[in-house]
């Protein structure tokens, strides 16, 4: 029942915050959000699961109730955690709390609604990572859209309406495609499955696979579904060329929304890829390895190139997310322990680092009210600490050793280099060039904005950032370094959940 408690606290908290007066909403929401943090940390310590949730591993905190009987198919409330989902849940709760605190400064209207929505997102995200029944999972998956749409739309920047609707519709279309594909797969599996529970579907896929549907051969159907699912998730990740909603959404979103968007929402896509494509379709993964690896490399390099061309700090970080997610895809397609495990590790790591970056940029924006590289210079002179953290975050993004980013990327590279598919070392080498480009655009941006002689046209004096803006970033920095120095904090449980995937479920 712990997971239900987790979700319930967030939901109730959301409702409470909605009706709370604006003055106290921020503090209240933060206080409430500490409960999920505590709970999830307790889950983390009390975690007793092993193996992969979809491949009859033993789930932690499982609970399973029948919900709806749809024809011969059962839909049930089915949640549980394994080594892959638990770290992401913890990431979610922590990032939410920090995001809430980091929005005390920038959010100055309709606070109660704002914080309510943030808590609502938290609830949905936890659900996404914990749900093990397709319908339940899909409900949470879609439920994230509404609050994010409103967060961007109401508290966003000048082009917020365009960005919000683009994000909303684009990702929803992808979800529909993915949904249809998966349903077709379930029907294709015929009598092998009698519910939408993911473990059952996975089991059916690994033992026998689909019999075929609307006239398609079983294997053909599997391939079609694989591709459709991949596209559906690729939009969320996002993978080039389905990425164009991301920069708009990020640039327009308020800082905390960006933090959650980059920190956790993108991980939904990669998480789903791992859970569906890379767990249920080992044969297709093998068959499509080379094209997917190519896509990954393109995402890394192309995304970095785009970031290089930007002058808006947030846009730079946004495009760099595209690049970083490319690494995740590379790690997944490597289909080795370090590859897939590293990809999962990168989900967490990138969540922390990009969250830190967006917070730092946000803090600077709060003071300068501009994000354009060309508008400012030498900010370090006025806000040394904030800039210090920004620089630290930037180096974390560049994969500086002893920070989580390096661990993640190194795992991925190592895992991908020894992967089985053709030209794996070549693809890896190409993708690794991202570490040079990322250094390029981040250092360029730093040099031009925070260093050099102080220059900024304002009619007021730029002052140091308040403590409650800095505190969350220190926490994140601490976590990043902790994971960089001791990746086994989570990497062990991740690999424990990843191994069954690679063994195709037969343990």
């Amino acid at each position: 029942m712990m997971i239900e408690a987790l979700i319930a606290v967030a939901l109730v908290g959301a409702l409470v915050t909605f009706v709370a007066p604006n003055r106290v909403a921020g503090k209240l929401a933060f206080a409430i959000s500490l409960v999920p943090v505590a709970l999830s940390l307790w889950l983390f310590t009390a975690f007793d699961g092993s193996g992969n949730a979809l491949l009859d591993g033993t789930l932690a905190f499982e609970s399973h109730y029948e919900w709806i009987q749809l024809g011969e198919y059962t839909i049930s409330w089915f949640v549980g955690l394994d080594g892959i989902s638990l770290p992401l849940v913890v990431l979610t709760t922590i990032l939410t709390s920090l995001a809430i605190m980091s929005s005390w400064t920038p959010i100055d209207e309709r606070e109660s609604q704002f914080y309510g929505l943030v808590l609502f997102i938290e609830a949905s995200l936890i659900g996404v990572f914990a749900a093990l029944d397709f319908f339940l999972w899909f409900i949470f998956w879609e439920a994230v859209l509404i609050p994010m749409y409103l967060l961007i739309g109401i508290w966003g920047g000048p082009r917020r309406k365009y960005a919000a609707i683009k994000f909303f519709v684009y990702t929803n279309v992808a979800s529909l495609l993915m949904f249809g594909a998966f349903i077709a797969l379930v029907f294709g599996l015929g009598d092998a499955v009698t519910s939408f529970a993911l473990p059952e579907v996975t089991d059916a896929m690994l033992n026998g696979g689909p019999e075929g549907f609307f006239g398609l051969e079983g294997t053909t159907l599997a391939s079609v579904v694989f591709v459709a699912l991949f596209i559906g998730f690729a939009v969320k990740v996002p993978v080039v060329p389905f990425h164009t909603w991301l920069p708009d959404a990020h640039v327009e979103a308020p800082t905390p929304a960006s933090v959650l968007l980059a920190g956790v929402l993108l991980k939904m896509g990669t998480y789903a890829l791992l859970r569906f494509n890379f767990t249920m379709f080992p044969d297709q993964v093998e068959a499509y390895a080379v094209p997917i690896a190519a896509i990954a490399v393109i995402s890394v390099i192309y995304g970095a190139m785009l970031a290089l061309a930007q002058t808006d700090l947030k846009r730079i970080v946004a495009y760099s997310s595209v690049s970083s997610m490319g690494y995740v895809i590379l790690g997944l397609i490597a289909y080795t322990q370090f590859g897939v495990g590293g990809a999962t590790f990168q989900m967490v790591s990138h969540g922390l680092i990009s969250g830190l970056m967006f917070m730092a940029v946000g803090v600077i924006y709060n003071a300068t009210h501009t994000r354009l590289v060309t508008d400012m210079s030498g900010i370090a002179d006025r806000m040394p600490v904030a800039v210090g953290i920004l620089v630290a975050g930037a180096f974390g993004y560049m994969g500086l050793p002893l920070m989580s980013g390096f661990a993640a990327e190194y795992f991925i590279f190592f895992g991908a280099f020894g992967a089985d598919f053709a030209y794996a070392p070549l693809f890896t080498g190409l993708a690794m060039f991202g570490i040079v480009l990322v250094a390029g655009y981040l250092l360029f941006a730093l040099q031009r904005t925070v260093f050099g002689p102080y220059r900024l046209e304002t009619d007021y004096e730029v002052s140091r950032a308040p403590l409650h803006d800095l505190a969350p970033m220190f926490v994140l920095l601490g976590l990043i370094i902790a994971l960089g120095v001791a990746p086994d904090l989570i990497f062990e449980m991740i690999t424990d959940a990843v191994d069954p995937i690679l063994e195709g479920g037969d343990l």
């Binding site: 930007q310 180096f395 500086l400 795992f411 590279f413 040099q447 002689p453 102080y454 062990e492």
Partner: protein, 677 residues
Amino acid sequence: MEGAFSYAPAIAAFPLVAFVVALAFGKWLPKKGAIPGIAATAASLLFSLWMLVAVASGETYHETLYEWTAGEAASEVGADGIAFSFGLLIDPLSALMLVIVSLVAFLVHVFSLGYMNAEGETGLPRYYAGLGLFTFSMLAFVYADNLLMAFMFFELVGLCSYLLIGFWFRTRSAPSAAKKAFLVTRFGDYFFLIGVVAIAATFGTLQFAGDQSFVAAAETAIDDGATLFGFDAETWVTITGLLVLGGVLGKSAQFPFHTWLPDAMEGPTTVSALIHAATMVAAGVYLVARMFGYYALSPTALAIIAFVGGFTALFAATMGVVKDDIKQVLAYSTISQYGYMMLGLGVGGYVAGVFHLMNHAFFKALLFLGAGAVIILMHHEQDMWKMGGLKDKAPVTYWTFLAGALALAGIIPFSGFWSKDEILYDAIIVGLEEPVILAAYAMGLVAVFFTGFYTFRMVFLTFHGEPRSEAAEDPHPVGWSVKFPLIVLGLLALVAGVANLAPVAKLANVDITFLEHWLDGEYGAIEGLTYGAYGELLAYETGVIGTEQQTVLIAAGLSLLLAFSGAGLAWKLYNAPEPVAHKERLGSAGTVVEDNYYQDEYQVWLAEGVTLPLARVADRFDQTVIDGLVNGVSSASLFSSSWVKRIQTGIVTNYAALIVAGFVALLLGLGLYGGWF
């Protein structure tokens, strides 16, 4: 002595603590964090000496202290698990290097008291924190026992250089130089990282030493004639070795990655001293020495190392000739000197290379700190043409600087001569068999001349002649904290050569090549990491001119001759009361050299003339084509929507008509489908 090693981690830990203290509390400390830094480096120095003694007493230390992570990974040679760990490897080489690093770091800290504090700089906590982190990273790198750990701290060293070079971030140039330093070295590290990954994926281990080391694994693989990633073992070893070499070239500022180093002079001179003498730049060469066994397996890689080294030595030396900024001259001399070390290692002169690394650490630190002193004297003027006549006004600075200069120029009996001569000797004896090496040797030899020239040009312009500016008229005095390090290093520059008087040994047939014995593990070493062991791996033929003695004499004589002639020419041209520039005599060649052979230009062009426009094109493509497609879909559907709703004309009779029409259409359609007509 066994107990000693259990304290080894402290060597790196002290500076780390100093870093934290300075960063957190430096603002409130006296001297803004200098004290903890000095204390920490002093402690590190003592412990390092202790390690040295311990090794001398025959002990070595190779221990895995902390497992970073481990997992399954089917490696190319079969091992199906791999552990990435942090461990210490203390053998003669690393023990020696520990002492060098901690000594120089200590002296630099002390010097900083005079150079930074006394000059009333701001942001000192940041400065000392940077120094602390820098020292920590370098020390940890030095006694890392595996390639991944080495890479990690290698990167951290890069970070520290970025922070310290960009110390004066309020200027325009410093941040730019810092960025350049990090980017260029990062570019090298890109290859390094591929190399690390490749080696790990190939051999399933990254250990430097022991039977479990990748070196051993590579050796067996070559003996078994295994095929790795589709190449035969030796080729693959060469490839991976060269990939790792990328990082080395970047950090040690070898051609073509040398461009960042002169710009790095934007940092405080003390930082330059640290970077050039003992930490960042040294790290590259040290890495080659550290995994020398691996390179020894691949003659191709070694030859490339040697050639690049020789070329860089000459190439940089020529550029040093025409610089007016005292620090610039030193910068190019650094590049050139590391070229020598690469040459030495490339020809298998493991001892020679390390020997020169050591000597260079001392005299280059000396020269930079001397230059720093001069800069203090000159009220932060760096143009040598504005100096002159400091000889009498600052005797300590002068004599110590002179010692360093003599060592750099390789004038007997100063330390530089012995090591450089040994490198050239090792080069020629191999060169007699291998034309490529011979070419490398020739370049190295010619470079000696230029070295002598620019060194003494610098000395004469700075200290001799008449003062050429009022700053030079009455220099700013320097305190003990400046003089003390100079004196220490000055002495070392003079006597350090004693460590390995190879020529003397060969000629007089006396056994005084202590360093060689040291590195050959006569006092204690780890299996396979000795000069002897490397020697067996090496595939080089060596030859002699006449007898060995004659060869020694010829080699030494040649280099001395060139050094002296270079120095002499400088004396003739610049040792005048009112020296004048002679660049125009060089003509067009001079301008080419002054512009550093347009190296920066083409690299900047690569960055800003190629990559950036490419990025812009990609951005435009993204905005127009890809995003345009997305927006196109929506606008298309909205357009069709505005068109569709027009059929609702509002006139009810039209509705009736449309209903009937629609009904008839349905009727006909289904009728045809059902085959009514």
